[in-house]
Amino acid sequence: MDLLTFLQVLDSTMRLATPLLLACLAGLYSERAGIFDIGLEGKMLAAAFLSAAVAFTTGSAWLGLLAGIGASLALSAIHGLASITFRGNQLISGVAINFLAAGLTVVVAQSWFGQGGRTPQLAGAARFEPITLPFADALRDVPVLGPIYYELISGHTALVYLALLLVPLTWWVLYATRFGLRMRAVGENPAAVDTAGVSVIGLRYAAVAICGVLCGIAGTYLATALQAGFVKDMSAGRGYIALAALIFAKWRPWYALYACLLFGFLQALALRPDVIEGALGFKVNGQLLDVLPYILTVIILAGFVGKAIPPRAGGAPYVKER
């Protein structure tokens, strides 16, 4: 395997890891505040559809992004209402959101565009185009570093760079700001936050809203950057892989990046059976690579690679004790 093939696999890793990373960070905010969210998948899907539909109609990918975030936020609001205000079961609410999104996107797409539950192909400004970083072309011929800069670092869409920037930003918010301290506290012991005179409900809604925004970006990326339009079930389980990555990362931002890159790498390899065969000398079933993230997560959960301790108040609605 030469350098260029390797770089192509890594480049594809970056593109595939981006939606995982955005969804994973989305889940991180929500779950760190004590609201479990298995509705990442549904929120991504809704955002993918609405962003593609609006991008096609208006011809602007950026308006599509706004619409995608709006769709995801609406579902977040439902999840918040169900699990924070009405103290419902967070898992059930999340499952409901996934079903709702899976069904609704196809039905609305069909009645809107009449193309069998998909949006028309996006082209031009309706898609996020790759950005060529400065000097990428000029430096292309520099040995080793040139191709790395041109193939791997340059040439991604704005959303990829945004996702990467969100990692240090999330870390900073979590550990260096008042909001981060309170948010982490509310996921561990909401009574401590309440008796300290801070609103538990306000904090949790804020976290769920951030989760909605990030899922919206993730879904928009799927439909307007990674691919060119919405198709049925296009999130393809990425919301669940993002949750697996979140557990793998033990709810920490930098580790979330590593986990998502690892899982993205596995997805990239699954797309290039020739590369694996070249490297290992025998064929590896692509489906095996698809299940690896889940297998790794099960291994983590079984405690083989250190303990993954979720936020202690996660999943439980806050009720003042009587």
Binding site: R178, G180, L181, D194, T195, A196, G197, V198, R322
Partner: protein, 511 residues
């Protein structure tokens, strides 16, 4: 010159559904004093203070702070009014540092770093001023309950609280920690803070407070100067009738040895040696009390005897060897040998809280032919049996269909006691019989234990309450660090000597 009271509550009422937790309560607390509020569990003390702290909202009533009427809709308002509260169950974030817990909710700005730096400086000053030593960078989960409590007090002081509410502060402390805690209280009082101390322990009220208010069933029954009252009077005000504070018992009529424990060793799954060569015996018709600070092996001892912890060594009951490791090392075969067990933690080991009283009465004895009808459980028979047990043990309310969690601590304990004692065991293991139980029920439970002894049964009593051990036991053994420190007769020892033994010091060394 008359001073305005630091706190005045007027006509506070609060209902939770049909339960009237506080009925028209008025109270005045003078500044710079320690004001005790005493009452049985469920009398409404914590509810009243949670209202003052804005954790609950009162249905009716007014609150005055330093003579000014205030509204306290939430904890933020209470903090702003200079009130701090240390709850019975600490409100700390376990995996945060001490410093982070202190700062939480009282940050100076959006960024943490300056807040943490200021808190570090102030904590140091407060530690010197009040003797409240903490390690600012330790995680809460790594420090003992004594220090956790100091963190809670510091949280309040950091928020400039002038009024401190302390809810059952000594429930989780060792005697030494409690002593230190009361010294801190004195310091706080000397600095002019107003303190409200909620407790059900008469001794703490008598030793530390200036004024005491008594609550009973949601009502304030009296407020008196501590110097002008007595424990007996307070107990009567709490319960509404005269209470025996001392246990009346005849001398023991000791029979043959029932339980004989030899060279018992337990190593837990982390490899820690929990019991180190324990030897003792209990005879028919006597109560052996085991004293010790919690966590010195008493729990493991009860677990081995009760059949749910493996051990090496030998245990015989009525001369028969008990299986300590094999297939017969379980609760059911222990019960078949005449051992009954009232576990230390009734809510986790003694009862299933979401199940009904009658289901709980059957647990462990569900194989009893009396409870069977063919291949089915005879639920009607179990319910009938439960009604009888509830009557004989004065369980209130006497409703077998109620979930275990709906009963008060004392009544839960009576359900467990009724289940175990009425099996007519040869040996009763009983751990912390009156933990979280109110005075009226304590008296009843103590009488039941003594009555069982007088029927010629052997009783092994484990308790961290030294007073309880001293008043019930016929012999006292002290455990420290998984070892037996020695035995004493109650008449020939006192709290001081036992306290030293509990700290691992025998008389010779102390001198």
């Amino acid at each position: 010159m008359t001073q305005a009271p630091a706190i005045e509550l007027k006509g506070i009422s609060k209902a939770f559904g049909p339960v009237q937790a506080n009925k028209d309560i008025s109270i005045r607390v003078m500044p710079g004093t320690i004001h005790g509020i005493i009452g049985e569990n469920g009398a409404g003390k914590s509810t009243l203070m949670s209202i003052l702290y804005g954790f609950y909202k009162a249905d009716k009533g007014e609150i005055f702070i330093a003579g000014k009427k205030v509204q306290i809709p939430d904890s933020q308002a209470a903090i702003a009014a200079g009130i701090g509260m240390v709850f019975q169950h600490f409100k700390l974030v376990e995996n945060f540092t001490v410093l982070e817990n202190v700062v939480l909710g009282a940050e100076d700005s959006g960024l943490l770093r300056p807040s943490l730096a200021r808190a570090r400086r102030e904590l140091k000053a407060l530690a010197e001023e009040y003797g409240l030593n903490v390690e600012p960078d330790a995680l809460i989960e790594d420090i003992g309950v004594g220090m956790q409590q100091r963190v809670e007090i510091l949280k309040a002081l950091y928020r400039k609280a002038d009024i401190l509410i302390l809810d059952e502060p000594t429930g989780v402390l060792t005697p030494a920690e409690a002593d230190q805690f009361f010294r801190i209280l004195e310091r706080l009082k000397a600095e002019g803070k107003t303190i409200i101390l909620i407790t059900h322990k008469l001794r703490e009220i008598m030793e530390t407070t200036d004024t005491v208010s008594v609550m009973r069933r949601g009502e304030m029954t009296a407020t008196v100067k501590t110097s002008e009252t007595s424990p007996a009077e307070l107990a009567e005000l709490m319960v509404g009738r005269k209470v025996l504070l001392r246990v009346d018992k005849a001398p023991a009529k000791v029979g043959a040895t029932v339980l004989e424990v030899k060279d018992l060793n337990v190593t837990d799954n982390k490899g820690v040696h929990r019991l180190k060569g324990i030897n003792f015996h209990v005879k028919a018709g006597e109560i052996l009390g085991i004293a010790g600070v919690a966590g010195n092996g008493q729990s493991e001892l009860l677990e081995v005897l009760g059949g749910y912890e493996k051990a090496t060594g030998s245990i015989t009951v009525n001369g028969q060897t008990i299986d300590l490791t094999g297939t017969h090392s379980d609760g059911r075969s222990r019960r078949a040998r005449g051992i009954a067990h009232v576990p230390e933690d009734r809510q986790r080991e003694g009862l299933i809280m979401d199940f009904t009283a009658w289901e709980n009465v059957a647990f462990g004895y569900h194989h009893d032919p009396k409870y069977q009808r063919g291949i089915f459980m005879d639920n009607a028979a179990i319910k009938d049996d439960t009604v009888g047990k509830m009557e004989r043990f004065d369980v209130r309310p006497p409703d077998p269909k109620l979930a275990a969690k709906s009963f008060s601590g004392g009544n839960q304990q009576k359900i467990v006691l009724a289940r175990e004692i009425e099996r007519n065991p040869d040996l009763l293991l009983i751990g912390q019989p009156t933990r979280g139980v109110d005075i009226g029920a304590i008296e009843f439970i103590h009488q039941q234990i003594v009555a069982l002894r007088d029927q010629g049964k052997a009783i092994l009593l484990v308790s961290v309450e030294l007073e309880e051990i001293l008043s019930l036991s016929d012999r006292i053994a002290v455990m420290f660090d998984g070892r037996m420190m020695g035995e004493r007769l109650p008449a020939q020892t006192d709290e001081k000597e036992l306290g030293l033994m509990m700290a691992g010091i025998t008389k010779g060394e102390a001198a």
